[in-house]
Amino acid sequence: MTEAPKGGKLSPGGDHGPQLSGSYWSKGVSAHNIWPPVKRLFGYIGKYRWAIMIGVLCTMIGSLLSTIGPQYIREISDRIYDGIVADSLDMDTVLGLSLIALTIYVVGMIFNALEHYIIPATSERVANLFRIDLAHKINRLPLNYYDNSSTGDIMSRLTNDADTVGHQCGLSFSFLFSALTTIIGCIIMMVWTCPLLAVITVIPPIVGFAMTRVVLRRTQGFFRAQSRYLGAINGQVEENYYGHAIVRAYGNREAAIREFSATNDELYRVAYKSRFITSTIPQTMAFIGNLGYVLVCVIGSMMVLNGEITYGVIIAFILYVRMFSHPLMMLADAFAGMQALAASTERLFELLDAPEMEDESGKDLDTGNTRGAVEFRDVCFSYIEGTEVIHDFSFRVEPGEKVAIVGPTGAGKTTLVNLLMRFYEVDSGDILIDGVSVKDLRRDQVHSLFSMVLQDAWVFEGTIRENLMFTSPGLTEERMIEACRAVGIHEFIESLPQGYDTPVGERSGLSAGQKQQISIARAMLHSAPMIIFDEATSSVDTRTEKHIQAAVERMTGGRTSFLIAHRLSTIRNCDKIIVMRDGKLVETGTHEELLAKGGYYYELYSSQFENCS
């Protein structure tokens, strides 16, 4: 995710030219598209803009000084030459000139060092700024944003793109201005010193540079192929690693390796070709440098023999030749960098610009005395426009009632919960809590009315204690232990070497059921007027489940609660059962009423007790 060295200017063709990832080539932003996003970027990064400008100024001063340096070396060598001819040399003058030259180079070095600190450090700060803004943005986006975009894509914006923007917003501009300063400075100095040699020095690098561009443009296919195969490889790796158990158990190892190997070989073939093409660029520029050197030597020598210039001029030009082939490559890199910058900036702003949930700070209804009456009134809802999944749904729940929502997979049970929690907004109709539309409450108010346990138990990196208490930090140890006892996980936690301070997370080694138990304990501690259990105990065995239910009942007393469960035995005691099918309410009533009715619920219920092996 992070790019290789920061701030280096060496062999730019290698360091910042076409990367293995082929990023510059796949993003395809043309020149006229660069400015608008970059302009916006600089507006966005605020004060860092000034740091970048200072860095760029440093690089310009450094470059300027390095173009002046050779003049003093020329001066020194001419003095020595004249000294030989005149048979007397004023060593003090030589010393004086040497000191001036040294001073110029030292000052230049200091400015370069400043730039090497300011630019990359600012880059990191900008990357950090975007990372944080994006991470916060994630929490302000409506949930339906996540239905339409993959986690991987959002992750990649937050890591790769934020990094690219951080990296390039300083570097490409410092490259650009450093190159321009060097080019202009060199040309002025050279023309001033000797126009003919200046022309000879300038032409080969420009021709060589133009040639490499043509070659690169013609070979873009390789770079595209490379990023395509890299993508394919990543996909295969991800899938086979996540499905490792199945790959093994089904003996698909050989086939998987064969398939991987085939893609890998293709990648190898395009990778070495594109690497070769990339490597020819600095080599060609080195040749151009040599060519310039030879031309300066030969033509300069003739001019010295003709008495047109002094010998020191040749020496100065040898230095300029070495200096001049470099900035052209830097210019190319600066433009490539800006393309990457523009592309990544657009991706960042795309996410940052995504419409957020409505600002609700103006809603200040008091929810302190919520009793927990819930009503769905003619609710219609669709995740994707045109595909309605909840149709004209109406029901009413009295305060303190225990309601079960049942129905086959895909009936819309979880969707109801999503709507109740205001994770999504209804298309039409209304949901009322104590007669107040949820739209008139702030989302965080709605959330805080519910203790909720979801189908996918979620545990974050941190200790068990943090996972239990993160939303209610003021709670006592006793309450925490009580909740864990109630869900039957206290003994397990105590048996761990670090007890409640044991770190858990991706590598936690907690079973799915244990994660659910922790989630349930968390919900218990977060005592709210209403409770939602969405398949909350699907990985917990029925015995533990019974414990949990008893505990939940005890702890939550007469609170309105919603249960979603496939296991119908768990809902028998509910005050009301809502039977759903294809997003519609089929029937409602108590367990006994529904069984007596002999309808869809009866069918569902009886099917689970028929014999089978």
Binding site: Y268, R275, N290, P408, T409, F492, S539, H566, R567, Q608
Partner: protein, 579 residues
Amino acid sequence: MIARVLGRRGISLIAVAVVLILIQVWMDLKIPEYMGEITDHIVLNHSDVVMQKGTEMLILAFGSLLVSFAAGFVLANVSALAGRNMRLMEFETVQSLSVEDISRFTAASLITRSTNDVTQVQNFIARGLQAVIKAPIIAVWGLIKISHSSMEWTAVTAGGMAILAVMMFATLHFAGIRYRKVQWFTDAVNRNTRENLDGIRVIRAYNAEDHQEERFDRSSRELLDNNVSAIKIMAPSYPVALAMSNFVTVGIYWIGAGLIMGITGQEARFLKYSDMIVFTSYATMVLTSVLLVFGVMRMVPRARVSYARIREVIETVPSVADGTITEGKEKGTVEFRDVSFSYPGSGRKALEDISFRVEKGSTVAIIGSTGSGKTTLVDLMLRFHDPDTGSVMVDGVDVRDFVQQSLHDRIGYVPQNAIIFSGSVTMNVNYGDGSEGRTIEDVRRALAVAQAEDFVAALPEQEESHISQKGKNLSGGQKQRIAIARAVCRDPEIYILDDSFSALDYKTDKALREALRRETEGSTVIIVAQRIGTIRDADEILVLDEGRIVGRGKHRQLMESCPLYREIARSQLTEEELL
């Protein structure tokens, strides 16, 4: 490991590259020599040879270009080859690791190691190898070439070199420490992000956005701080290296002025002057070579971290080693003999003294509370772990003695979480060893048994419809049915169904079980379940509690003899339903 990564071909290619680079350096070092000769002629006023020498220089320069292209071609091949080999080696290793090894690394980390880390190292080789070979050759050869002309000049040049070398190693050492931390916090930022995205609904439900943001900001800030301090360490080194050749040039001229005036005779002085010019060219080349390495060395800290991470994977010895036996002594039997097992790092026994035997064609169910060891028990049959004591036998052979593939070929395994691959339905159902021998009819039959026929028929291209990665375009129940069809399609001796019906509603569950019972006639079935209804007709039911078998027998027997079983059953069924 480097030898393995490069292979014989890679090493030979590097040898070729070294020879090519030697030739190139020879040519490059020859060019300033001509400059010396030309200068000699100029100062001594012989113009006739300038054009001739100039032509020879051009030929050398062009030759050097061609040779460097050749070397570049060879080295490009080396880097791509190394990348290919590392990826393949990692992929192969990971495929032979046990489930335990994978969870130790985490799948996400293994993915990064097989993709990004390899790219890092490959980039490093691509850009660095040339410099690493070329720079020392230029430095040593160049210094030797000029060492005879003046002790003082050589001393200044060597001194400059020494300063750069010391600075380089010190910088890299101290920056390296920071970069390792950077890597760590980069991982932390990624982890936090993923966690935030995965848990977004819970976070919202608990209004815990601030809590998550705080955690993220902290990691991000740490990442920033470590990056900035690494940058601080790195900042001066490149400008110093860049300026060093200029310092040395000025030094040589200043010393040179004294040396030249110290000798007598104008011609001798001019020859020394020309010597000085040539020397400066070489000194610049020598010092620039350090710069070349320096640019590459800046990539070292990251490449080294990546390389170590790759190496850790490749050198992992799978904690489960392959056996040699391919044929069983019996058919369709499973036996546990006094098996105990605990997860590494955990003091608790996940399974303790488990013994039971399953005969061909019978159905054994395993039931028990969360964390009682049901999945662990099943995993041992598949050799995802090895027991600490006792042995697990399949078809009368200790599973450790089986060639794993032969063991797995006997089993149709459906895990708790259905795993779906991107590809067609057919590809997902007809999967793994022996898939070439099975036809579309087998796939259809398996889909029918798994009650997946209807929804597959409703897909745009039926069995050939594309399923996206991780089955994102399917519901949980649909994924489970595909996973079950995959097992059915193999027609295995032994079915292992690890709580594979949990996302199905009761109606589908029931239909599926009935179809499966017809289908599995003659096959051994081991079924882990939560629902009594699913298992009550099993030939034997094992009740597991905290890793021990606390009851075994048929439903009726257990209802009488096993309090735990009774409790589980009561929680699900009413008294009448139980009998």
